[in-house]
């Protein structure tokens, strides 16, 4: 049984100008020990999808349909109290974007971790502190820094404190939202290495949200490519990078410069992502697609799984059916 099973999830934001279809009919599954990369351009709905799993939507966000099955429970049917007590942080935790600002500036980092442990588990303060020390060791900061304030740590260390905090209650799933933006290349490599090591050591399941495909390629084993609120292609990392089927994925993969191998021509995608207030009819990518056919303008392609059972793609070129 998969750990998380998201089916036909729909979440719209109400704005002054109407409903913004941020997540529209998104389905994916995640097994225990898997790490899934959610990739796509900004505004494609990847963070919104993650917020749905945590049920941390802003007030104007409303879930219109679908279900999120987590360990046999439908998260969308749980009450706020149960969510807070049982799910958030204890079972599903998150590493937010921009760690620099996610930590409380006037509280010692150790105390912040202790606080999150005590809030969710019945343990003594002493015991919680011991666990916080162990966590800081685990992410390579060292227990000696437990009484430091956030401003005494560098950006990379703060991000590692955030990772330690996300692991405080031994969660089953960690959602990392752009964990390395605003970090330098070398520090980014350090943080990614910590995450990869932890994943193996603790057999963590992870959802990594990023616009950087190369980062996902290095850390995840599965990937889902999102475009304008929909998942256009998903599957094993290797098969998607080697044989991308959807025209959008093909363009996206080849628009990333690589530092190794022969120098290839960089691809670019004409035009801009659509306005999700009025997304284009049919396939949402058709206005920017080189291979758009008549049918793409009218009907929406459904996801079909080809060859390899886990490789799903929503495109009429690949024998997509009407949905």
């Amino acid at each position: 049984m998969p750990l998380v099973d998201v089916e036909h999830l729909k979440m719209y934001f109400l704005t002054m100008r109407g409903w913004v279809k941020a997540v529209d009919d998104v389905s994916f599954t995640l097994d225990k020990g898997d790490s899934l990369g959610l990739a796509g351009e900004s505004g494609c709905g990847k963070t919104s999808t993650a917020l749905c799993i945590l049920r941390l939507l802003p007030r104007n966000g409303k879930i219109f349909g679908g279900n999120i099955d987590f360990q046999g429970q439908d998260i969308l049917k749980l009450g706020e109290r149960e969510l807070r007590r049982e799910i958030r942080w204890k079972k599903i935790s998150t590493i937010f974007q921009g760690a620099m600002n996610a930590l409380h500036p006037t509280t010692k980092v150790g105390d912040q971790i202790v606080e999150s442990i005590i809030a969710h588990e019945k343990v003594s303060k002493k015991e919680a502190r011991k666990r916080a020390e162990a966590l800081l060791d685990l992410v390579g900061i060292g227990a000696s820094r437990i009484d430091r304030y956030p401003h005494e740590l560098s950006g990379g260390m703060k991000q590692r404190v955030m990772i330690a905090m996300s692991l405080a209650c031994n969660p089953d799933l960690v959602i990392a939202d752009e964990p390395t933006t605003a970090l330098d290349v070398i520090i980014e490599a350090q943080v990614l290495k910590v995450m990869k090591d932890l994943q193996q050591k603790l057999n963590l399941s992870m959802i990594l949200i990023s616009h950087d495909l190369s980062m996902i390629a290095e850390t995840c084993n599965k990937v889902a490519i999102m475009y304008a609120g929909k998942i256009v292609e998903q599957g094993e990392v290797a098969s998607i990078y080697k044989e991308p089927l959807h025209p959008y994925t093909q363009k996206l993969v080849s628009s990333f410069p690589s530092i190794i191998g022969p120098k290839k021509e960089l691809a670019s995608i004409q035009g801009f992502p659509p306005d999700l207030l009025n997304p284009p009819e049919g396939c949402r990518f058709h206005p920017r697609c080189d291979y758009a056919m008549e049918i793409c303008r009218r009907t929406e392609p459904a996801t079909v799984f080809t060859g390899n059972k886990n490789h799903g793609v929503a495109c009429f070129l690949i024998g997509g059916e009407k949905s």
């Binding site: 351009e41 900004s42 560098s154 990379g156 330098d184 290349v185 070398i186 520090i187 980014e188 490599a189 350090q190 990614l192 290495k193 616009h211 950087d212 495909l213 190369s214 980062m215 390629a217 290095e218 990392v237 290797a238 990078y241 080697k242 363009k251 996206l252 993969v253 628009s255 990333f256 410069p257 690589s258 530092i259 190794i260 191998g261 120098k263 960089l266 691809a267 670019s268 995608i269 004409q270 801009f272």
Partner: protein, 331 residues
């Protein structure tokens, strides 16, 4: 190489740190941040010269020095053979027609209350290079077309918030190009943009270099992209250039251990790629008291005693290649 457009000689910038009254009395020397320390390079015509390094290594300060936005502590800046280190005032303003800049963040570098037309035409008004309104309008439309913002009328009377990130950065580039400069400092011009848009703007910059024969100082932390953009690169660490040479050459055969680590840190969009794993420990040290000897020795995997004592100088390591290391890789 052809006659250099821009040359920096022993360029140094130290920022003083403000200390208290008693500290000033007691200590003989005021502490300074060694932002840029004895940096030498030259940029040829139609060349894109890349400066790469972590944040805090002095690459942006070097860019600002060339733009004469800040005064160097010592050293010289030459533009087309002329010493412009001490040029100031009206003379410098005229000079600025030929030296322009593109900033990193198109969300902050455009005035939100000015229309695109006003933003792009502002340099013309400042420099007073056009006489009639028609002439200004023609030039603005022309430069917008060069940036692929067509038809210009559709964009000229809008405001920055109505444009996407990629369009904004094109407007910022248009503003830099309208005076037909010969040299542009581009400070991470595409790092804020999304992947697919990023490669499009990068390609635009490349085509503009060819079309208008402009030279670029391209400041970036993205090694992978610099491979596509730059003819030559210089790797900076704590205010010093540690290695320089033709881009492809440096990436394929780095001599300096820092360059090697920087390359190894770049994620690769290929899950099956086999790579050497080098993860440097710790962060870049403080530039107030840079480490003695080779500034990189505190994080270097190959450091020996001599590295702590004496500072290595840039030595030649092949055609157009220079590096500053006692134990270069692959030698």
């Amino acid at each position: 190489m052809s006659e250099p457009i821009v040359k920096a000689e022993h360029l140094t910038k130290h920022f003083p740190i403000k200390t208290g009254f008693f500290r000033t009395l007691l200590s003989k020397e005021n502490p300074v941040v060694h932002a840029v320390d004895d940096v030498n390079f030259q940029i040829g015509t139609e060349e894109i010269f890349g400066l790469v390094g972590e944040s805090g290594c002095g690459k942006t300060t070097t860019g600002k020095l060339l733009l004469k936005l800040i005064e160097p502590t010592s050293g010289g800046i030459y533009f087309k053979g002329r010493d412009i280190t001490n040029v100031a005032g009206r003379e410098m303003r005229t000079m600025r027609q030929k030296i322009q800049v593109i900033f990193q963040d198109p969300y902050e570098s455009l005035n939100p209350r000015m229309s695109i037309y006003d933003i792009v035409s502002e340099p013309i008004h400042v420099q007073k290079v056009a006489k009639t309104m028609e002439e200004i309008k023609d030039r603005v439309e022309k430069v917008m077309e060069d940036m692929d913002l067509v038809p210009p009328e559709e964009y000229l009377y809008r405001f920055p918030h109505e444009l996407s990130g990629g369009q904004r950065q094109r407007v910022a580039i248009a503003r830099a190009f309208i005076l037909q400069p010969e040299f542009i400092v581009a400070d991470e011009p595409v790092s804020m943009l999304d992947a697919s848009i990023r490669s499009e703007v990068a390609k635009l910059v490349l085509s503009l270099v060819e079309k208008f024969h402009i030279s670029f100082l391209y400041i970036t932390h993205d090694m992978a992209l610099s491979r596509y953009m730059c003819n030559r690169i210089a790797v900076m660490y704590l205010g010093k250039i540690v290695e320089t040479g033709p881009t492809e050459d440096v990436i394929q055969h780095p001599f300096h251990p820092y360059t090697e680590a920087l390359i190894a840190a770049v994620p690769v969009p290929d899950p099956t790629a086999k790579r050497t794993e080098i993860v440097l420990k710790g962060e870049i040290p403080s530039a107030v008291n840079p480490p003695s000897g080779c500034r990189f020795h505190t994080r270097c995997l190959y450091a020996q005693d001599v590295c702590k004592k004496e500072e290595p100088q840039l030595v030649e390591g092949g055609k157009n290649r220079y590096f500053a290391c006692y134990f270069p890789l692959g030698k």
